[in-house]
């Protein structure tokens, strides 16, 4: 505790014990509803999944479900398709986050400039994330078409070679990544934008007085100040990108071959396609652990601390 003098609501100097109890009451009243609801609805299915992952469970034959310990996990790590999907997911996340951060930040900076046209465009920039992902996926699928798609049309006009996008092994994963990044960049834009806005004017004025150029202002002052929000945003985006399923599935279904089969597609195929619930659950758990490790690495890198 910091050694300051605290007053209670009656303005009198309250004894330490009473104050502690009041704080505790306040604290739990604020925390309890959210925590109880969140943890109770989440922890139980997670426990259920972990339990299933220790069994061999083929959904149409529930009577044959039996305990096999860690066998599912061991088979997963021997499954080259699974290992490859982990690497693909890493690649996928890297591409998506990089594009999102670069674009998001650039657009946010432009939006904070005082140009009037920017203010008008602000709402419009949010739209990609608002558009229903299903519609986005189908639209991009037809835009990517090598024979009928508009993207290749533009390439043709610019005299660039046509690409096969989601229809080719080499480009499928990157193409899906582009679509996801396109879709989610507005989130980054908003985060950067509100972060930049909340930097108080005094700080900026002070830096101007100190003779900082716009560029220096950006790097040395603004960026560090919005760091906490920025890293939370990246954290959530990373987690969500790892889990992303709908878009990938509609665009490529993991194909051609398995070139765009990320962890989430792998898990879905084994759980709801092949109905091997035990194996699929194990894959889901490994996926969760993987994401947690990723998140933790980001913590360390971002210096997110738990103190003020």
């Amino acid at each position: 505790m910091d050694g300051r003098v605290h007053m209670n609501i009656r303005g009198k100097r309250a004894p330490r014990g009473l104050q502690e109890r009041e704080i505790a009451k306040f604290r739990w009243m604020m925390l309890a509803p959210g925590l109880i609801v969140l943890l109770s609805i989440n922890l139980l299915p997670i426990a259920d999944t972990i339990l299933t992952s220790f069994h061999d469970f083929y959904l149409p034959r529930p009577q044959q479900k039996h305990f096999i310990g860690l066998a599912n996990y061991m088979n997963l790590f021997k499954d080259s398709r699974f290992i490859e999907s982990i690497w693909r997911t890493v690649k996928f996340v890297l591409i998506v986050i990089t594009i999102e951060v670069i674009f998001g930040f650039t657009i946010a900076i432009f939006l904070t400039s005082k140009l009037k046209t920017m203010q008008a465009l602000r709402g419009l920039f949010l739209v990609p994330i608002i558009l229903t992902p299903i519609a986005t996926a189908f639209m991009w699928r037809i835009m990517f078409s090598p024979t009928l798609g508009i993207l290749n049309y533009f390439l043709e006009v610019l005299r660039l070679p046509p690409q096969t996008w989601i229809y080719s092994e080499e480009q499928a994963l990157a193409s899906v990544a582009i679509v996801l990044a396109w879709c989610k960049t507005p989130f980054m834009i908003m985060v950067f934008y509100t972060g930049l806005l909340s930097i108080s004017e005094d700080v900026i004025e002070a830096s101007l007085i100190d003779g900082a150029s716009a560029w220096q202002q950006l790097w040395r002052i603004k960026l560090p100040l919005i760091r906490p929000v920025f890293f939370v945003a990246i954290l959530f985006q990373t987690v969500d990108t790892c889990k992303e399923f709908d878009l990938t599935f509609i665009l490529t279904r993991g194909g051609p071959g398995s070139s765009s089969e990320t962890l989430s597609v792998f898990t879905y195929l084994h759980s709801f396609g092949f109905l091997r619930m035990g194996y699929g659950s194990a894959a889901a758990i490994v996926m969760s652990v993987f994401i947690t490790i990723l998140a933790y690495t980001l913590f360390r890198a971002g210096g997110i601390d738990f103190e003020n």
Partner: protein, 444 residues
């Protein structure tokens, strides 16, 4: 902190009480009152039936006759329709949890799995219930055997086919005429024609290339070369599609795709193929007859009126097209089984089937398909191609009657897809795949 943990523990204990699956007890049977034809039409008045349907032409057509049924029986019908992938998920969750949200479910290649798991009802005993159906008038044999076989598990019928399709060849009459090309009747001719056409079009021929989508079409080509998927069409002891004939068949299909297909064919589903054909990007397309309606509608297709339909070309063993069908089945968890069967039998009876066939050109009954009025509505050559497909003598079912059919599609589809992606030793690849598929067969 302690308060929190206690609350969590209590909630943990509560959840499992609810999380058990399980079936509710079925409603008790009412004493039945029959009409003149022996069927208790109005005995279930006031019941509501829920149909879980795929977004399919059949569903649209069925909606048109629902009111007639309600007027006749007083049973209300609610159709809950979903797009295909959604439908698969929703159906799976409903059936496997025994929830009984749907009384009647549209059924496809997962019929074996669903039947074995006890998710859908065995319909044989239901056909004996005279107060629900007149078996003689119903003419079970009229249902095209090439379709009912796929829904017969352990000798019993589990779902009634309602909409059948067969592999046919679509081609552009105008382009063929312009260039003086003959409609290919063998695969070698098809190959040559595709090669010629590829010079001027993005694709000489369209076929499905995406992993699991290749399987049904490639199987037909394998059959036409004399190959088979399984050794025995009933027992499924081991996979035999690495025989020399099957290898040649698989090679033909994948070569057509790889050499004369559009760029990106390796991830082409029926959707991309249909769009390309509609926009005139390719003059030939080998796939299921059901797409005819997509090509003949000028609101969607640039080539309406210019499309010709031919039976699937023949390989050395003849023309053996694959096919498919959607069917309707009854959920074992339904609480209104009598009413549900009444509806099933009515909707798939000869009269109603013919009505639906005239409406939309889809049917699974021989009597409906040979109705002369059908010929007026649909292109004659399409009917001929479809009939040719139906009467072809095929060695086995399109999809093996095994429980793990999704995995089957994935395994064998990966092989075909990989052959489309790059030229390689077909025999070696199929040898590997045969081993994996035999494993799946063993798990009956």
């Amino acid at each position: 902190m302690r308060f929190l943990s206690i609350t969590l523990c209590i909630l943990c204990l509560v959840f499992p009480v609810f999380a058990q699956g399980g079936k509710d007890a079925p409603a008790a049977a009412k004493p039945v009152e029959v009409s003149a034809d022996g069927i208790a039409w109005r005995a279930y008045e006031g019941t509501t039936l829920h149909l879980g349907m795929n977004k399919h032409v059949y569903t649209d057509t069925l909606r048109k006759v629902i009111d007639e049924f309600t007027a006749k029986t007083g049973i209300k019908i609610i159709i809950d329709e979903y797009a295909q992938d959604e439908f698969m998920n929703k159906r799976l969750v409903d059936l496997s949890s025994g929830a009984g949200t749907f009384d009647i479910v549209m059924m496809d290649s997962i019929a074996t799995q669903a039947a074995q798991a006890g998710w859908i009802e065995n319909l044989d005993p239901w056909f004996e219930k005279r107060h629900l159906v007149d078996k003689k008038a119903y003419m079970l044999d009229d249902l095209s055997p090439s379709f009912t076989k796929a829904f017969t598990v352990n000798g019993s019928l589990y779902a009634i086919p309602v909409s059948g399709e067969k592999q046919v060849l679509f081609y552009r009459k105008d382009i063929f005429k312009e260039r003086g090309l003959k409609v290919p009747t063998t695969f070698d001719e098809l190959y040559e024609t595709a090669r010629i056409l590829k010079r001027d079009f993005p694709a000489g021929i369209l076929v499905r290339g995406q992993k699991i989508h290749t399987v049904s079409n490639a199987t037909g080509v394998i059959w036409s070369y004399g190959g088979k998927i399984a050794d025995d069409p009933v027992q499924y002891n081991k996979a035999v599609f690495n025989s020399p004939e099957a290898v040649r068949g698989a090679d033909m299909y994948t070569s057509l795709a790889r050499e004369f297909g559009p760029p990106g064919i390796a991830n082409y589903t029926w959707y991309e193929c249909v769009s390309d054909f509609q926009q005139g990007k390719a003059p030939m397309y080998l796939d299921m007859s059901v797409f005819m309606s997509q090509f003949e509608d000028p609101a969607k297709s640039l080539v309406a009126g210019k499309v010709g339909y031919a039976p699937m070309p023949a390989g050395p063993a003849g023309s053996k097209p694959t096919g498919g069908a959607w069917a309707v089945s009854m959920s074992s968890a339904s609480r209104n089984k009598d009413a549900a069967f009444l509806f099933l039998a009515w909707a798939t009876s000869p009269e109603i089937s013919t009505k639906l066939a005239l409406e939309a050109g889809i049917a699974a009954r021989a009597s409906a398909l040979s109705d002369p009025k059908l010929a007026e509505k649909y292109p004659a050559d399409w009917l001929k191609a479809f009939q040719a497909g139906l009467s072809a003598d095929v060695p086995e079912l399109t999809f093996p009657l095994i429980s793990r059919n999704e995995e089957y599609l994935d395994t064998i589809g990966t092989a075909f897809n990989s052959m489309i992606l790059r030229k390689q030793d077909v025999k070696a690849l199929l040898d590997e795949t045969v081993v994996k598929v035999t494993e799946l067969f063993k798990d009956k």
